[in-house]
């Protein structure tokens, strides 16, 4: 089980902000550091109180050129907020977002206009992302015109080329969103995201609303685009199977914090964080001999309004220790390119340097 660790022993005492080496070639395309966002909400009756929901709590990660980073986690863990904060669709409270060396948070309106061409998003539900009264040609062509990339007939040509690239006939341009099936609408959503020639696409649950056979078609299409256009993706999903298939690296979130991050094969073969382990063992597998373990384990994910002290996962964790209730574990590098936020892997019990051993022992 320690395949990910045995080949390279963890570095002695990594600094709190230690990040993985990344690709050796160049600086990362997207660099997110300490991203924090608290939503304030007035709730309650008859006397409303202001409650603060910490949606993001010091989230840091990198995305390399033409790499797909998966962000997984359950409802309310903040994975969609990451995308929105990186795109400046909402303003984060703290932290930095650098895209290709440019500070996204500090970008002037004109710089932001340039950034919008290179940073795009694909939403989960293409039906609600498309204007029902707008023809497909306008839905895709609008941004091309607004950004002055083409005019007149050239827009039509560009739209036809984009439709072809996502596997739709050029006749689709004259039609309205309701004339398409869910999978076709998601292709339109993708064509629209591609219209300005982005370098990085945030895909927020892009296949979650689709049937299995259509989901596979869209995943294959996205993979083709990643290779052909050298696109990078931040792929947000609750489905571990989809992330394992599509992404090269994965980050696991729990109540606003990253709890584990690393290369897809390592994390899926040998998850370290107890939450990652729970996610993996709860994911249904189509094989009755290795079917998902159905424990009557109690424990709901706590509310983000009032998260538990210390490590947010401690009330559900089978390996909980005293310090977990008081101190939030930092996200530390345990082996090259692999980070975990768990006291099991920094605690004295892990003095041997092999954190996986600690979990194995605890079991």
């Amino acid at each position: 089980m320690s395949t990910g660790l045995s080949d390279r022993p963890p570095s002695a005492v990594p600094s709190g902000n230690a990040l993985h080496a990344g690709t050796p070639t160049s600086a990362p395309l997207l660099e997110v550091r300490g991203l924090t966002k608290t939503f304030k909400e007035r709730r309650g009756w008859p006397i409303p109180k202001t409650v603060a929901v910490r949606a993001l709590d010091g989230v840091s990660f990198d995305v390399a050129h033409s790499e797909a980073l998966g962000i997984v986690g359950e409802s309310g863990c903040g994975k969609s907020t990451v995308a929105r904060a990186c795109l400046r669709l909402i303003a984060p409270d703290a932290g930095s977002v650098r895209f290709d060396g440019i500070d996204v948070r500090a970008a002037s309106p004109s710089a932001m206009r340039m950034l919008r061409r290179r940073l795009q998003i694909v939403f989960q539900d293409p039906a609600s992302a498309l204007d029902p009264r707008q023809r497909i040609a306008d839905a895709i062509g609008e941004s091309i015109r607004v950004h002055g990339i083409a005019r007149g007939n050239d827009v039509t040509t560009a739209v036809a080329r984009l439709l072809d690239e996502v596997g739709l006939p050029s006749s689709a341009a004259r039609r309205f969103p309701h004339e398409f099936s869910g999978g076709q609408r998601q292709r339109i959503g993708i064509a629209r995201a591609l219209a300005l020639g982005p370098a990085l696409v945030f895909a927020d649950e892009p296949v979650s609303a689709l049937d299995v056979s259509v989901q596979a078609q869209i995943l294959v299409l996205l993979d083709e685009l990643r290779h052909r256009r050298k696109l990078a993706f931040v792929f947000i999903s609750h489905d571990l199977g989809v992330v394992r298939h599509f992404c090269q690296r994965v980050a696991v979130m729990y109540l606003g914090r990253l709890v584990e991050e690393g290369p897809v094969p390592t994390i899926f073969e040998d998850p370290l964080h107890p939450y990652t382990r729970l996610l993996k063992s709860s994911s249904p597998i189509p094989d009755p001999e290795h079917a998902v373990s159905l424990d009557l384990q109690e424990g709901e994910p706590p509310s983000p309004v009032d998260p538990p002290s210390g490590c947010h996962f401690h009330p559900r964790c089978p390996f909980v220790m005293e310090q977990c209730k008081a101190i939030a574990p930092p996200l530390l590098e345990v082996s090259s390119g692999r980070r975990v936020a768990c006291h099991l892997f920094t605690a004295p019990t892990a003095a041997s340097g092999n954190g996986a051993g600690a979990v194995a022992a605890a079991q």
Binding site: E74, S213, V220, R244, P284, E289, A291, L294, L296, P301
Partner: protein, 340 residues
């Protein structure tokens, strides 16, 4: 739920001593599109014994939910109707029963849970009242008795601090807890049959595992026959005893669960499994099924999967029957190529 899956030598061998709790025989359900009636479910037959789980699997529009609605008698009037076939619940023929008798059976001997608990619960009524409602309705209990039983039911579905939450409203519960409330409502009158239509699809995976475990536990204790409607083959592998795969309203494959996953035989079943990205395997190439499910009026005559099938032969223009495999009579496949 799959404790008895080893005895899959015979169809429904799980509890052969007992009578099936639910028998669906030759069910054909039609729906109306633009003043024309189309068969959206064709000749579906199955039986479920107490303590047995049958999973109906397929993609949107395959007829799995329509089959469940037919069994529950909840087809929208004027748009859907049962054209032929018989549905027997706990020995009573539902299709022959009067509307009032059928109404009395629903909620009493058939319990139902749906995908999105928030849309099934009344937001302005307390949870305890909503659980007690069917007990007053079907069992003639007094309000006080029903409230006591509602508390027991909330404890049965493991809602923590049940006594304090009897008077709570649906919005004060999380998604997983709401689904537990739905299960409590479904089980209020101790039904024989539980119909669960995508009961965990809207839930997070860790909560899904809890709710499935709870259902399995209740099924054992209450001796329920469960009809599980799902699109998730992983859920099927975890809880079902038998699987029926539907495509375009037809049953294309029917098999005991272990046999199905060992030997998926219909080209559509095979394709579904190959199109599913798996958490337990490293990135193998996905094989998407080309095209999409044709709409009801456009479905081809004969085998309805032929327009997307890589193994199509001329004979597919004619509808194949559901034929048992020679080696495994409990395993039926509707395909000229795979089960000649």
């Amino acid at each position: 739920m799959s404790a008895t899956a080893a005895t899959d030598a015979l169809p429904n061998a799980v509890a052969s001593a007992e009578k099936p709790a639910l028998i669906v025989d030759g069910l054909t359900t039609s729906i109306r599109i633009d003043r024309q009636w189309f068969d959206a479910v064709r000749d579906v037959s199955f039986a479920i014994h107490p303590r047995e789980t049958l999973a109906l699997v397929g993609e949107s529009g395959c007829g799995k939910s329509l089959t469940a609605l037919s069994v529950m008698g909840l087809l929208p009037a004027g748009v859907g109707r049962i054209s032929s076939g018989r549905i027997t619940v706990d020995g009573t023929d539902m299709t022959a029963a009067s509307a009032a008798a059928a109404q009395a059976m629903r909620g009493d001997r058939i319990g139902m849970i749906f995908q999105e608990p928030m849309t099934s619960l009344n937001p302005v009524l307390p949870i305890g009242f909503q659980i007690a409602e069917s007990l007053v309705q079907h069992r003639g209990m007094s309000a006080r008795q029903a409230r006591q039983r509602a508390l027991e039911l909330m404890e049965l579905v493991r809602i923590p601090a049940a006594a304090q939450r009897l008077d709570a409203y649906p919005h004060q519960f999380s998604g997983g807890m709401r689904q537990r409330v739905m299960i409590a409502i479904a089980l209020a009158c101790s039904p024989k049959v539980l119909i669960a239509d995508e009961p965990t699809t809207a839930l997070d995976v860790t909560i899904q595992a809890q709710v499935l475990a709870l259902l399995a536990d209740l099924q054992r204790r209450e001796g329920l026959a469960v009809l599980l409607i799902t699109h998730n083959l992983g859920v099927v592998a975890a809880v079902a005893d038998r699987v029926i795969v539907m495509y375009g309203g037809d049953v294309v494959e029917s098999a005991p669960v272990n046999e199905f996953f060992r030997r998926p035989t219909h080209p559509y079943s095979e394709a579904l499994l190959a199109a599913m990205p798996r958490v337990d395997r490293s990135a193998a190439a996905l094989a998407p099924i080309p095209g999409q499910v044709p709409t009801l009026p456009d479905l081809p005559a004969g085998c309805r999967f032929q327009s997307r099938c890589p193994h199509r032969i001329e004979r597919c223009a004619e509808l194949p029957p559901l034929m048992p495999l020679a080696a495994m009579p409990a395993h039926g496949v509707r395909c000229w190529v795979r089960a000649p």
